[in-house]
Amino acid sequence: MHLGKFRELRFACRLNNKMHTQLVIIQATSLCNINCRYCYLPDRAAARRISPQILEQIFKALFASSFIADEILFLWHAGEPLVLPISFYEQAFQLQERWNVKQVHIVNAFQTNATLITQKWCQFFKTHNVHVGVSIDGPQHIHDANRVNRGGKGTFARTMRGIELLRHNNIPYTAIAVITSSSVGQAELFWQFFSELSPLRLGLNPEEVEGINASSSLHTEENIQRYKEFLKHLLTLNEQAARPVLIREFEELAHQIYEPRPFTYMQTNVPMAIINFDCDGNFSTFSPELLTMTHPEYGDFRFGNILENSLEEIYDNPKFQYIQEQIQQGIRECEKTCAYFSVCGGGSPSNKLYENGTFNSTETRACRLQIQTPTEVLLEHLEEKYIPPSSRTPVSSNPVTIKSYTKE
């Protein structure tokens, strides 16, 4: 049987530079025009901006590198991308095209708070086929509890004005909602809101402990249980609806059920699957959040600067090597101890670091909220639907054995 071999190959691949980059996150500016209470970005009040010289070097190096395959997603984020003028992105996209000598399929996406969207921006999105992701937490009282401007006032009205412009221009968009303890008791209102909004897909980001956000309202046993009930309620409402809200967390798992793979990989713990650039040209990999963070033991998580280093040099960087080894140790421990490893792939390094203090650790509360709870909720939901009661089972506490996956 090949499965033992798989396991070794997997780690060999991670260590031997055989990754293709799927996602490139570019911080065009560190500035955000709003000031969300749970934000992890330390420099969001600083108006730093990437220079054309750095941007050109990023594209030049990326498209010449061995990391790029047939398709690449550029996500403009880590600061509000629409703070910069349209002309900035027109120039950036021209540079992309200039250096895309292998004719890689490029997708550009903006993750935005939508407050600065104008008709001109809509025209730009359409002209350049930009994918738009809007950060919106739900109905006004939920959204405005945390997504506030620098004066402490809610931003819901301005966000909705931006969304209305997208809809008026027939621009499809996805949404990401940060879930806090105030959302989880209001599943019906939350669902109703997003059902009417009809984003292409809704991602649920449970509030995390990361960077300068030192606590999460969801990180108690009681609130993890409430989150589970919240998810169950959303699934039930979806089941009864003619137009369900497509929820990313359930879709990812449903995809694995329809097209199972022996292993799951998480972008955030496979080196160079994501490359993150800050506006000074520093680059990092693994969890995007690491790029802007520092830590007492590790310092910063910049593994090079694109004006001085090639991307391939990252593998010679001693700090990268040390962190990579620590992360892989953590994944191995997850594999040995966690029942959810087959649907997770070993957890997010930034969550491990900020919750457990080390990369070579295992379960976090973020794991429980982002992976374990949605998995349990969806599996229980589908088992009720497809499996006779006599054949159902309580949740297993046993570690996953890979062999059990491929039945002989």
């Binding site: 691949c13 799951t264 972008q267 599996l379 297993s396």
Partner: protein, 78 residues
């Protein structure tokens, strides 16, 4: 069809495999024999793939980071 275990604990992977089979059967009940045959063939193929095939097929990350909401995770069931 593969017998369903009962009165035992299932791992997450087993539960997914079980649902994979049952949900595909439910989608096309008239085609159960073909479904079972396909499953057998898939397992057999998996066991004979070369290391290179396995390497590339299995290393591609399938779970995005929490800021990634644009990838192709769309469920293609009706």
């Amino acid at each position: 069809m593969e017998p369903i275990k009962s009165a035992q604990k299932f791992s997450i992977a087993e539960r997914i495999h079980r649902l994979h089979v049952l949900m595909n059967l439910a989608d096309s009940p008239e085609d159960q024999d073909a479904m079972v045959a396909r499953e057998k063939q898939r397992s057999a193929e998996e066991a004979t793939k070369s290391e290179t095939e396995l390497e590339w097929r299995n290393i591609e990350p399938t779970r995005g980071c929490i800021w990634e909401n644009f990838g192709n995770y769309v469920l293609h069931a009706d």
